[in-house]
């Protein structure tokens, strides 16, 4: 099956082209990544992963629009839903972890050392 | 109903496994016993009432139409048996209730799990022998590992964990390589030279056997053979890859050892006879001397190791290495006597060695030791047990009149005859005639293997001399008069000598040992047809080697007379090759469908 763009449809975006969205998405992703790698607070690290999620979501939407396909948007809605559920779970876990060690430092947990 | 018998033979144990799992633990024994007995009835009815032993090739004793399982790959759920597999199905069904009943007092914890897995194992083993589809075979073949792994690792002796892991990983590693070989054969079937148009994938055993034996070059066949051997020789087990066996046997619970010796090892030999011989006959012919030599090394080496064992169970376990050496040796003689002997060996070894393991288990239940240093002279204390022990040992030694002799003799006879040198003057003047057949082994192989019969007498009588005869010796804690003492506080107490239940388990085996030893003719007749096609395949393999060795001659004589390196004894109608002779028998009516060439 061919995409709409390939089929000759014009780009549906005015001033902002696909590139702009992708750049923003990349910046968001990099910020999240750097944050995840450098911070040691579990909550901050969790927030950084959310940031990366949203970056990829943005890219998906941009591409969906570019290809005149709803798949990207549908996907993002799913991701958002899952992310919401996941956030609830993850934060609950973080609370539990905090209760165990009285600390939010990720370094406090090294039980999986081989 | 008739065409469902085999399916029922598989489903009954599965259903009773489910029943065992669901019902309370107190019912587990009963359900398991009736489940296996019903399966036995189905199989016996299939064997004596429905199956026609005279016909060659497979008999559709399954469903009429195969279930198209994964149509895009040509996978079919298709069951059926020929004479060889019918016998092995019957052996499996017979050992089922015997294993269950023999475990009644031996297994005291987690009974539900135990009997459930035992039943699942039986279903899987029956499936192996019934499968007509390569993948179905392989699934059942591998699935036998899981219940056995659990049986060993939960109910085994002290070193059970190591034994179970080694058993699983060793045989599994081998069979994965075999799977590669089998899949290659299926791939070859759709990519073979000279094919026009699109061919559907199929895993039908007969179709593949026909294709690979006919079109594969010797080189390809050799690779396939070694891949298959990697899996099946480990399972048998042949000489250098046998070390999992003594460990697994020694550590397994009694019923596990019985099944291991009785059926699981036969999966290996059955696979050799079902796949290696018909799939790659040329390679088999080319490498028969090598395999034969390995078997002989196994016979002598395994036998001598038996002789220095102090653990009775380990002794019997190592004796399996020696015994199955005979079995495979006969098979690779590639003549009628050898192959029939080999199949009978599978049955007979299952009966006699299975019984020996049962007997050792009965002793272990009473005295909690298997060491020949602690046990001795039990004839004085347990005359019934001793009688059975001597009887089954003699069956194992190969005493004429009992079953072991028939198969051992036929294997040795096949090996003796099987030499093309009979005609070429090496064995002096004898021309190929009724007493000799073309083959790759010969009298020297038979004589060296025959020393194994002396060694078998040595170690088995050594065992009898230690355990059965001599002054009575019992392990500390068992005084000489009290019989079974109070140390064993859980479970029903066992009588000093065998109970009626234990005798009842042994008697059917003993009766079969005598019957098959005195009147093996029905079995020999039944094996005639399947053996014939295997021998024809081997002859075709010899021709293929001859063809590939002498391309010039082939060109000179034209395509038709390609088998110009005419081997002695292989008379055939003029103008036909053995390859053509294969066709009618080797292709089943059903196999035309998936394998057929579509425009």
């Amino acid at each position: 099956m061919m995409t709409l763009a390939q089929a000759g449809y014009p780009a549906a975006m005015g001033g902002a082209t696909l590139g702009h969205y992708l750049v923003v998405s990349a910046i968001l992703f990099t910020l999240g990544l750097i944050g995840f790698l450098t911070r040691r607070n579990l909550i901050i690290m969790f927030l950084c992963t959310e940031l990366m999620f949203q970056a990829s979501g943005l890219a998906l939407i941009a591409f969906g629009r570019y290809h005149m396909s709803f798949t990207g948007q549908t996907f993002v809605i799913f991701v958002l839903t899952v992310a919401a559920a996941e956030a609830a779970m993850a934060l609950a876990l973080v609370v539990l972890l905090f209760r165990r060690r009285e600390s939010l430092d990720a370094e406090a947990w090294q039980d999986m050392k081989g | 109903m008739n065409q469902w018998l085999l399916i029922l033979a598989m489903l009954t144990p599965l259903a009773s496994a489910l029943g065992v799992a669901v019902l309370p633990a107190a019912r587990a024994k009963t359900v398991a016993m009736y489940g296996t007995l019903v399966a036995l009835v189905f199989v016996l009815y299939a064997g004596f009432g429905v199956f026609s032993w005279e016909q060659s090739g497979y008999m559709q004793l399954g469903m009429d139409e195969p279930i198209r399982w994964i149509p895009s790959l040509g996978l079919e759920f298709q069951v059926g048996v020929d004479g060889i597999s019918m016998m092995l199905v019957m052996l499996t069904a017979l050992l089922g209730p015997i294993c269950v009943i023999s475990s009644f007092t031996a297994i005291k914890d987690r009974e539900k799990t135990y009997y459930a897995w035992l039943l699942v194992l039986q279903a899987a083993m029956t499936g192996v022998f019934c499968a007509r589809d390569l993948i179905l075979f392989y699934i059942c073949f591998e699935f036998t590992l899981v219940p056995m792994f659990i049986l060993i690792s939960v109910w085994g002796s002290t070193n059970r964990k190591k034994a179970a892991i080694k058993f699983f990983l060793y045989t599994f590693t081998g069979s994965v390589i075999a799977l590669a070989g089998l899949v290659y054969v299926a791939w070859f079937n759709v990519h073979r030279p000279g094919i026009e148009g699109h061919v559907n994938w199929t895993f039908n055993i007969q179709t593949l056997a026909f294709a690979s034996s006919k079109w594969m070059s010797l080189n390809q066949q050799t690779w396939v053979m070694f891949a298959l051997l990697a899996g099946f020789a480990v399972k048998v087990p042949l000489f250098p890859v046998h070390t999992w066996l003594p460990l697994a046997h020694t550590e397994a619970p009694t019923a596990g050892s019985v099944i291991l010796a009785g059926v699981l090892l036969k999966l290996g030999t059955y696979a050799l006879i079902r796949f290696v011989l018909p799939f790659v006959p040329a390679a088999v012919v080319a490498y028969a001397p090598l395999i034969g030599a390995l078997c002989i090394v196994g016979i002598i080496y395994g036998g001598l190791i038996c002789w220095v064992q102090t653990d009775v169970k380990k002794l019997v376990a190592y004796s399996s290495v020696a015994h199955l050496g005979f079995c495979v040796l006969g098979m690779f003689a590639l003549n009628h006597a050898g192959i029939e002997g080999s199949v009978l060996y599978m049955i007979n070894h299952g009966l006699s060695t299975g019984a020996l393991f049962l007997l050792i288990g009965m002793i272990y239940e009473r005295y909690h030791t298997r060491s020949m240093k602690e046990l001795g002279g039990l004839a004085a204390k347990m005359p019934v047990w001793a009688t059975f022990m001597v009887f089954f040992t003699m069956a194992s030694v190969g005493l004429p009149g009992l079953n072991g002799f028939v198969s051992e003799f036929l294997c040795v006879m096949g090996t003796y005859q099987a030499s093309t040198a009979w005609g070429s003057g090496v064995w002096h003047t004898l021309v190929p005639q009724v007493g000799t057949t073309p083959g790759e082994l010969g009298p020297w192989y038979a004589i060296i293997a025959g020393t194994g019969m002396i060694i078998a007498a040595m170690y088995l009588l050594y065992m009898l001399g230690k355990v059965v005869w001599g002054p009575l010796r019992l392990p500390a804690g068992h005084d000489h008069h009290g019989g079974h003492d109070a140390k064993d506080d859980h479970g029903p107490a066992l009588p000093t000598d065998l109970s009626m239940r234990e005798i009842g388990v042994l008697v059917p085996l003993a009766v079969l040992c005598v019957a098959l030893g005195v009147y093996p003719k029905p079995l020999l007749e039944a094996l005639k047809a399947p053996t014939d096609s295997l021998v024809q395949a081997a002859n075709a393999g010899r021709e293929k080697i001859g063809v590939e060795a002498t391309p010039g001659e082939r060109a000179a004589k034209g395509e038709k007379g390609a088998g110009s390196a005419q081997l002695p004894g292989s008379e055939r109608p003029a103008g036909t090759t053995h390859l053509e002779l294969l066709t009618p028998d080797m292709i089943s009516p059903a196999s035309g469908r998936p394998g057929e060439v579509t425009p």
Binding site: W109 | K166, V241, L399, I447, P471
Partner: protein, 737 residues
């Protein structure tokens, strides 16, 4: 000539309907007895019932054998007549025989149109000719008598052990009948291994004695070594002739071709190697040459067993095999293997006799004597006098059974005492007259005193030996002297001289009661014989009183003594072994090679002078025994022979230690093999299994190698992910460009 067989078989056929049935009954009766004895054991019968079952069924089997013999009478007569008419021809094909098919045992065929076809036939069937009938007559006849004897001899074990004994005894007669009556080589092998099993079970009857267990094991394994040769020989016969059925094989040999139509003598395969392989089996079963070691040890078994199995019947199976396959042996014009057989027999005869001269255990002396006498039989076959060999088998069966049973009676009465030095003057004790007489007449036969059955049969062999090869003749003649010496040495020391006895240390294996330590030998004898109705010889504690044999033992001994005399006309007073010769002449063993030799005894015709020579030699041996062991002997332990001993130096000690052959075998075969087995076991554990474990170690080691990469720190994993992503992107970029 082949048509002659055909007519003979058809001639025998009219009675055939009846005779098939009688023949089958000969095998069925011991089988029934075996099963019934087994049932007795299962139902814990505590009486002499198993013995009576066995005696009755064996007696019935003997009657059926007689009937078969009567039926076959015309056949034998016809063959015998022809035998007389045409003297010179090698004549297996002259023999009348009857082949009966009972049921298919290992018969199968293969092929057909498509592949090479063939068949293998090993029926359960009978091949009846003179040789078969001769053997069957003494197997069933002596079997019955010895079973009767054993009913009393084994009485101390009434119960499970008694059932076990008679079950094995019946099984033995069954196997022996199969061996002798077999219609093909494989069924012979069936019987051959069957008798081996029974021998194993019966030697090891007193299974609590480690020596008995070891002896049983030794007998079975040594036999198996020979059996391998026999089995390979059978397969060789099949390869050569395409059949193992006697009649068909003999037909091919008569025609002089193998199954492929090629002459038999073009290579050494058929004329030399096949008979050599069969000879290995025969020598194993009959304890010849390297294989003799098991037979003396087999004396650990109960004495009736020694008498029946290890003297009269089973050990002669080797002689039977060679006699049966004589056509195969005579293919070779040079008679290579027959010469080998003759020498094997001769050497064993001499060798075993030297050991017999030195041994003090009376039963072992008889054991060595059996090996020695078997040597004579093989020598007889080897020097082409099969009639002589068979005649000696026949007479030996009677007199050696007599001797053994007399020894057994002594052993029974003196609580297992077997030592020559601890018994003396037994003849003079009350109730021992019949035993002493039996021993005396048996000894006369064994020594070859003039006109006894043993004399006639031994002379046939000696005369033919001198004809064929004077060297063999001389050795056998000297051995005859030695035989007379050691036989009468035993007789004079045990039965003559001053009365003296010490009880033995017999501990019978009791199945029923564990507590035999509780009562001594007196109480033991009392307990088991109280109901036998003979009161003499029993004390009630304190000193030992021997108990004289009861009616069963005495009856059997008397019958056997009469038998020893009755068979004289069957083997003696005629050329070529009289009746026995005629029976052998009417069989596959027929041969008239005796006339071919040109050897002489000091320039005289050996057949004429041997009667006198061997009589003199036998009397010399007896005289020596009298002088060395009876003359002037005042105690049991010391005789004139002791004075001779220092003069002979270490030879006597060596002979007493059986020339250290057992030790030699142990050092050369058993210990190295055990060592090798241990090496193999170590190899298996550490090399073969070690390689497997090594293979298993590779993934484990790899895992251990990269294990530090799992630090357990979250950031480490994150960095790894990011790094991996970066690498992936780089690769994508590089590939894209």
């Amino acid at each position: 000539m082949l048509t002659a067989i055909g007519t003979m078989v058809t001639a025998a056929e009219p009675e055939g309907g009846g005779s098939h049935w009688t023949l089958t009954m000969i095998v069925v009766l011991p089988l029934v007895s075996f099963v019934l004895c087994g049932l007795c054991a299962a139902f814990k019968v505590k009486s002499k019932l198993p013995a009576w079952i066995t005696v009755a069924s064996l007696a019935a089997a003997f009657v059926f054998t007689l009937m078969a013999f009567m039926n076959a009478g015309p056949m034998i007569a016809a063959a015998g007549a022809e035998h007389g008419a045409e003297h010179a021809a090698a004549s297996a094909e002259h023999a009348g025989h009857l082949t009966v098919h009972v049921f298919d045992w290992l018969n199968f065929d293969w092929g057909g149109g498509k592949s090479s076809s063939g068949r293998f036939d090993a029926d359960f069937g009978f091949y009846i000719d003179g040789l078969t009938l001769l053997w069957m007559l003494f197997v069933t006849g002596l079997g019955t008598l010895i079973a009767l004897y054993a009913s009393e001899y084994m009485a101390h074990d009434v119960g499970l052990g008694y059932c076990r004994f008679f079950a094995a005894f019946s099984l033995f007669v069954l196997s022996m009948s199969c061996l002798v009556m077999a219609s093909n080589l494989l069924m012979l092998f069936f019987g051959w291994e069957g008798v081996g099993l029974c021998s194993y079970l019966l030697i090891g009857y007193f299974y609590k004695k480690p020596a008995a267990v070891a002896a049983a094991k030794k007998a079975f394994i040594v036999n198996r070594i020979g059996d391998l040769g026999l089995l390979m020989g059978i397969l060789g016969v099949y390869a050569a002739f395409g059949t193992v059925q006697y009649d068909k094989v003999f037909e091919f040999i008569h025609k002089g071709v193998d199954a492929g139509g090629h002459p038999l003598t073009t290579s050494s395969w058929i004329p030399v190697i096949l008979p050599l392989l069969l000879t290995a089996g025969a020598f194993g079963k009959s304890a010849q040459l390297f294989f003799y070691v098991w037979l003396p040890d087999a004396m650990e078994g109960p004495t009736p067993v020694s008498a029946l199995i290890h003297a009269a019947t089973m050990v002669t199976a080797g002689v039977f095999l060679i006699a049966r396959m004589m056509p195969l042996y005579t293919i070779d014009p040079a008679h290579t293997i027959l010469t080998f057989v003759a020498w094997g027999g001769t050497i064993t005869a001499f060798w075993a006799a030297t050991i017999g001269m030195a041994h003090f255990d009376i039963k072992r002396v008889m054991g060595y004597s059996t090996a020695s006498q078997l040597g004579y039989m093989f020598a007889g076959l080897g020097v082409m006098n099969s009639a002589g060999g068979a005649a000696h088998v026949f007479s030996h069966a009677f007199f050696k059974a007599t001797l053994f049973l007399a020894c057994g009676a002594v052993m029974h009465g003196f609580a297992g005492q077997l030592d020559l030095r601890k018994l003396s003057g037994v003849r003079k004790l009350p109730g021992w007259k019949i035993v002493a007489a039996a021993m005396f007449f048996g000894a006369l036969n064994l020594s070859g005193v003039t006109f006894t059955a043993g004399f006639w049969s031994k002379d046939l062999i000696l005369a033919s030996s001198f004809e064929q090869s004077p060297a063999i003749g001389w050795i056998l003649l000297i051995t005859a002297g030695l035989t007379a010496y050691y036989t009468f040495r035993a007789y004079f020391r045990v039965f003559e001289g001053p009365v003296y006895f010490e009880p033995g240390d017999e501990v019978h294996g009791h199945d029923e009661h564990e507590d035999h330590a509780g009562h001594g030998h007196d109480g033991h004898g009392e307990e088991s014989h109280a109901h036998d109705g003979h009161a003499q010889g029993h004390g009630h504690g304190g000193e030992f009183h021997p108990h004289a044999p009861g009616w069963a033992i005495n009856t059997v001994l008397a019958t056997l003594v009469v038998g020893c005399f009755a068979i004289i006309p069957l083997v003696g007073f005629a050329e070529h072994g009289a009746w026995v010769g005629k029976m052998v002449g009417a069989s596959s063993a027929a041969m008239h090679g005796g006339e071919e030799g040109h050897g002489t005894f000091l320039g005289m015709n050996p057949h004429s002078v041997m009667y006198y020579v061997s009589s003199v030699v036998g009397l010399l041996g007896i005289a020596a025994a009298w002088w060395l062991h009876l003359a002037g002997r005042t105690s049991a332990a010391h005789a004139n022979a002791d004075k001779l001993e220092p003069a002979l130096g270490p030879i006597v000690t060596w002979a007493r230690h059986k020339w250290y052959v057992d030790e030699f075998y142990d050092a050369v075969i058993r210990i190295p093999l055990k060592f090798l087995s241990n090496i193999f076991y170590l190899l298996d554990q550490y090399l073969v299994d070690g390689l497997v474990n090594l293979t298993g170690f590779v993934p484990k080691g790899l895992g251990r190698l990269i294990r530090p990469s799992q630090s357990g720190e979250l950031h480490g994993y994150a960095l790894g992910m990011a790094g991996g992503l970066a690498v992936l992107i780089l690769i994508v970029l590089m590939v894209a460009r």
